[in-house]
Symmetry: C2
Subunit: 218 residues, 2 copies
Amino acid sequence: MLRVPMISKIEEEVFTPRQQAVLTAALDLLVENGDGLTMTAVARRASCSKETLYKWFGDRDGLLTATVQWQAAKVRMPQVNRSGLNAKALRASIEQFARDLLTVLIGEISITLNRTAVTHAAQEKDSLGAIVLENGPMAIRRRLKPILEAGRDARLLRFDNSEDAYRTFFGLVVRDVQIRLLLGDKTLTQINVEANIEADVQTATDQFFALYGADKTQ
Amino acid sequence: MLRVPMISKIEEEVFTPRQQAVLTAALDLLVENGDGLTMTAVARRASCSKETLYKWFGDRDGLLTATVQWQAAKVRMPQVNRSGLNAKALRASIEQFARDLLTVLIGEISITLNRTAVTHAAQEKDSLGAIVLENGPMAIRRRLKPILEAGRDARLLRFDNSEDAYRTFFGLVVRDVQIRLLLGDKTLTQINVEANIEADVQTATDQFFALYGADKTQ
DNA sequence: GCAGAACCGTACCGTACGGTACGCCTGCGT
DNA sequence: ACGCAGGCGTACCGTACGGTACGGTTCTGC
């Protein structure tokens, strides 16, 4: 089972352009056909031989892992400026996080990756789940927490535990949208949600400040 | 494809005790082995013949659907008393809903059903997703909404849209717990969460009232 | 007690798919 | 010019599993 240099489950791998083309094909198939991804289909779609797939990725699971990892790592949300720390800038930052989070979560790619990872987790294989978690919620958390704490230091926010504050933020923003999309809720199409993103972001931000803002008159 | 009387995807089916034993076996296997459920395994576990399985449930999907539906329908959370509508009773009701919701969601059976349904939804088959949604979040919603609206009528709560209020409640209670469990997050075991249910329920309820309570001094 | 239905256990079939082997082509270094 | 590594396409193998068939056994109604 030869394998492209892998440093760790979390660390990024380096893929040649050709390999990335293969991974793109795999992701496309994943989006189209769900987890019914077959090696033959990937090989045909990417115009490569199955033998190459096995040489590069070891086995089906390796290909799946590489695909998920590569795609998940591509979700690089714009860094939010942390310098200006007045109330307005803080609110803008939080709002931007909410927007980023929601936008990513309702995307087809995110849905697909999460579904794949959940399916994977249902078979005592949680590596994909860890990757998705790490590059999704956890990535946002890592970047949001310092902002929250800076906001607290500036007496703009109040909370005991930044972890709890983050998780409440997550809940206010995501609500039941993600689980419903994952379950294929027909009454909640991406388009439908997309149209309301801005309003939902505003509401969630308002609510977050209502709960954690230092200015209680807000 | 003979089939036990089925009225609709949502309607409950009637199963004989023997059939329920089969479904129990299927669920057990689902909990143990994830979606790697095979007809042979179910037949062996339930001490019945595969032919019987096909006779009763049509095909693998039918068995899966019957299992999910049967189990999901069993989640009957205690009805909350709606009569006393003072602030205290209202808060107790909301709290109870939060507790029920969280308790169900973190259970192994719920995790399994949701994972199965998500996997199923990844293959253009959303019937299981619909069933889980219907018996999970939607069931709670149906029962919570009247309470919320009664609370509003009694001037104890304030909101424009009971749907939004419900979804915010959902977010405050569930936060990132469900998706992390579905993804197999090792740092968030059921036991771990279970220990904090009561505190989380209190917090969520406090936050809900802070956002939607008519008494803003609270 | 008997006919027939329901059901168990098992053997069997077909197929889909993971994984391997191999022949051929292409490009590149010497 | 030549060899060879890398890679394509395809054929192939083994197996697991969905689905069916069938003989034997228990249950039920008459």
